[in-house]
């Protein structure tokens, strides 16, 4: 039994290491290829010929976001792209979110034939601005649906363009986001159903009027660790998966989706706690079932900045929700697992999610308990023990360091080179200070799902971006 368990953990770690090595190689090739393929010249075509640029709808649900809503909408309205609309879905906010929107953007209710193409809670009103400066803004006021998915559906129903961005109001998008994210769609000979991009932490950045004026790594520990974690996920994992068209998840924080495919696949699942992964997989399943060729692309550039959990309490909320969502996702979509009708989704994406994302915290936690047992029962061979510890530690560290170098290859975002070294330095402590927390909180999410406890959409507490309202550097006090 002891041998079986030891070997199980060992081979699991080795498989993970080899997997990541493979992804690192693929993502390196893919990142360089992407960098040369799409230059400023391609982006300029869209600006020079605005009538040819495909329209994009930006859908951002807002629930009790009075602190940040003004800056956030302003920031979205000022993106540098010729044809887009901003759809803010007020998901039954109980604070002054809607009042602020009406007052600041000179909104008035307009008659609108609202078609429920995908299910959502009833829509009360549609608002548009009287001021031409805000002509791109539409506000949907609806009853609270309890999940982001429900609010997204309300926005998708009203979106007029073929592609829409799924984002949150607490996210700050780079000014050239839309031209960067649409290029892979325009340049593909296959139907691109979704595009993801790199997300980073806004904590620590200097923000002025909803625009990031200085990118910095976060000052607090948890967002700092999460910055490296995000970079690993986007620049290594997703860029690697993108090479073989097997991206498991286009993030709910920021992603471009084909509206018609989303509608055809039934829209976002209001009951899901991982609505982004659920939607991605259902879109892929729809394309497979209808025998249509498709691509999901990952853009390596950092296009979206979001508030990371500033403390353990908020991290706990975030990760337990992700944990719940993960387990729910696997149970809901078990039919895809090793199902040859779904090709890569069945034989690559689902096994990866089950073995390396869902099982990882379980194996790590039981491995830790097992180690304690071996230590107490004096069954540890210390000649090789340190070797095994170094092995497990180096898997994470090496990937983090390589990731930071990939990020730098794409362009220097931090002004100071030492800020990159800060990321590297702190990634050395991630395995000790941060990762155990993530494991515990994810397991807690699994337990919550199984016991059906605390099934609420966790909410972040915002402090806001605007220098006029608070400080010009974002700190969260949840």
């Amino acid at each position: 039994m002891i041998y079986f368990f030891t070997y199980l953990i060992y081979f699991y770690a080795t498989a993970l290491a080899l997997f990541y090595l493979g992804l690192m190689i693929m993502s390196y090739y893919n990142t360089l290829r992407y960098r040369y393929r799409y230059t400023e010249k391609e982006e300029n075509y869209l600006k020079d010929f605005p009538e040819e640029a495909p329209g994009i709808s930006i859908v951002a649900p807002a629930f009790n976001e009075e602190v940040i809503i003004y800056d956030s909408v302003n920031s979205l309205l000022n993106l540098d792209y010729p044809t887009f609309e901003v759809i803010i879905v007020n998901d039954g906010s109980k604070d002054k979110t809607l009042d602020i929107l009406i007052e600041e953007f000179e909104l008035e209710e307009v008659p609108y034939y609202y078609a429920y193409k995908v299910y959502c809670r009833p829509v009360r009103r549609i608002y548009r601005s009287k001021n031409p400066a805000y002509s791109k803004l539409k506000v949907v006021d609806k009853e609270n649906g309890g999940t982001k998915a429900d609010a997204m559906n309300a926005g998708v129903n009203i979106a007029q363009y073929d592609y829409f961005i799924n984002t949150d109001v607490d996210c700050i998008l780079a000014e050239d986001t839309l031209s960067k994210i649409i290029l892979p769609v325009l340049d593909s000979d296959k139907h691109v159903i979704a595009v993801g991009a790199t997300m980073r932490m806004v904590n620590g950045c200097t923000v002025d009027k909803g625009r990031i004026t200085r990118v910095k790594p976060p000052n607090r520990l948890i967002p700092l660790f999460q910055e490296t974690e995000y970079l690993r996920s986007y620049l290594v994992a997703k860029m690697g998966w993108s090479m073989v068209n097997a991206i498991p998840n286009v993030s709910g924080g920021f992603g471009l989706f084909d509206r018609n495919i989303v509608v055809a696949a039934g829209g976002f699942d209001s009951a899901s706690h991982a609505e982004d992964m659920d939607m991605t997989v259902r879109m892929v399943a729809y394309m497979r079932e209808n025998k249509k060729a498709y691509r999901i692309v990952q853009c390596p550039y950092s296009l979206c900045w979001t508030e990371g959990p500033p403390n353990i309490k908020v991290l706990n909320r975030q990760r337990t929700r992700w944990g719940r969502g993960m387990l729910q996702f696997i149970i809901d979509h078990r039919k895809f697992f090793l199902n040859r009708d779904y090709g890569r989704l069945g034989f690559l994406v689902m096994p990866y999610i089950v073995f390396f994302e869902f099982l990882a915290p379980i194996i790590e936690f039981t491995g830790f308990l097992f180690l304690l047992f071996l230590l107490f029962s004096n069954q540890v061979n210390f000649d090789t023990f340190w070797m095994m510890i170094a092995y497990a530690y180096l898997i994470g560290l090496s990937v983090s360091i390589v990731t930071v170098s990939y990020d730098l290859v794409l362009g220097k975002l931090y002004k100071n080179f030492w800020e990159y070294l800060k990321l590297v330095l702190f990634s050395a402590f991630e395995a000790i200070l941060y990762h155990p927390l993530v494991v515990i909180f994810t397991l807690r999410g699994y337990v919550q799902y199984l016991t059906r406890k605390n099934f609420k959409w966790g909410q972040m507490t915002r402090q806001g971006f605007s220098p006029s309202k608070n400080a010009n550097t974002v700190h969260n006090n949840a």
Partner: protein, 390 residues
């Protein structure tokens, strides 16, 4: 020579773990590999940082030295000789390092674009600046000798310099197996070649024709149209079987207002089996304001697919002939699809005062029938101009 050393240390390492199970030996190897990746990653990071800093510094130095002088020359109404410019810039091309041409191109293009925007660009001096700095030679060499990614970048820069290029240099790239490089080269050929620029346009441009290629070619055709009249674009689709390419050319026919193409387009409408192509033919006829097509479009409206029907409605809106209003109103009444109703209502509204009257009449009918949905839909269309355009 070093092989013996490696062998020695390898033997030493294997002796240390001699007698251990295979799994431990594998772990040792894995730890060494991961440690090497970690160290390599750190050094690579430091190296990239160093290179970036150095590039920034040199760029700043070069910019400080050249920018002002280049702006002076390109803006000046007096034409300067190449030697005069070289003397002014104090730049010895024979001693210049390779990276310098790269940085200089960036500066030249920035200066050119800003002076051009101000409407003060002296084209002769600009071309002489390129000659004085020997930039074309540098980029042509890169096109000939680099790998696909760098070559594609070089092609784009040559396109931005816009100083013409010998098509012989491009020939290798225009048939390269890398489709991105190939298409960039073909676009550059169309944009810069003076002998047979539209060669690839006649040959379907490329089998992997995407939306981005449409943008590239649209830009190139605009540039060509500024230099002289474009040929009849329809001749490029005679041999094409790619509907995507045909649709693009048809759009360009409308964009460049090639009115003489309208009768041929009417003939095409009867022949074409692809619905997207038919829809684009109809939209192009609308763009060209070809009023004669109206009766034919009305005839085929009820037999067509949704895409083509929507194109007919949009075209009717573009043509804005009063006699088409009856048709649009009838189409509105007969359709059940909400999306189509919206398009038709907008098309009716584009007919101005008469259109608004018809919409009011339709709203009255909806009111009488107590059709709340239709009433809302028409109110929406009315409010779109009252509040803001769609």
């Amino acid at each position: 020579m070093y092989y013996d050393y490696y062998l020695y240390y390898l033997s030493y390492l294997s002796s240390v773990y001699n007698g251990y199970p295979l799994i431990i030996r594998i772990t040792v190897v894995m730890v060494m590999v991961l440690a090497a990746i970690t160290l390599f990653g750190v050094f690579r990071l430091l190296y990239i940082g160093y290179r970036m800093n150095r590039k920034e510094k040199t760029k700043k130095g070069t910019r400080d030295h050249f920018e002002e002088k280049l702006t002076f020359v390109m803006r000046n109404k007096v034409n300067y000789e190449v030697e005069e410019i070289q003397e002014l810039l104090q730049y010895d091309t024979n001693r210049a390092k390779r990276w310098k041409s790269d940085v200089l191109t960036d500066i030249v293009l920035t200066v050119k674009n800003s002076v051009y925007k101000e409407g003060e660009l002296n084209e002769i001096n600009y071309k002489n600046c390129i000659e004085a700095l020997r930039l074309m030679g540098f980029w042509e060499k890169r096109i000939r000798t680099s790998g696909p990614d760098k070559r594609k970048e070089a092609l784009q820069i040559v396109g931005a310099i816009d100083n013409g290029i010998n098509s012989g240099i491009l020939s290798k790239s225009t048939f390269h197996k890398n489709k991105h490089l190939r298409k960039t080269a073909r676009d550059l050929h169309t944009s810069q070649d003076s002998y047979n620029p539209f060669r690839f346009m006649e040959e379907n441009f490329d089998e992997a024709f995407t939306q981005l290629d449409k943008l590239r070619l649209h830009s190139t055709l605009i540039k060509r149209s500024k230099e002289g009249r474009l040929p009849n674009l329809l001749r490029w689709i005679n041999n094409s079987k790619n509907p995507n390419y045909i649709v693009f050319i048809l759009r360009e026919v409308g964009f460049f207002k090639q009115y003489e193409a309208a009768p041929t387009l009417m003939e095409m409408l009867d022949r074409q089996e692809n619905r997207d192509v038919r829809a684009q033919v109809i939209l192009t006829l609308g763009e060209l304001g070809y009023l004669e097509c109206a009766s034919s479009l009305i005839e085929r409206f009820h037999l067509e697919t949704n895409v083509v029907r929507e194109a007919i409605i949009t075209t009717m809106g573009n043509l804005q002939a009063r006699e088409n209003l009856d048709f649009l109103v009838e189409a509105y009444r007969s359709t059940e699809d909400v999306n189509s109703k919206l398009i038709i209502a907008r098309s009716i509204k584009s007919h101005g005062e008469y259109g608004n009257q018809e919409l009011l009449r339709l709203q009255q009918e909806a009111y009488v029938k107590a059709n709340e949905n239709e009433n809302t839909l028409l109110n929406q269309v009315f409010s779109e101009t009252a509040i803001l355009p769609v």
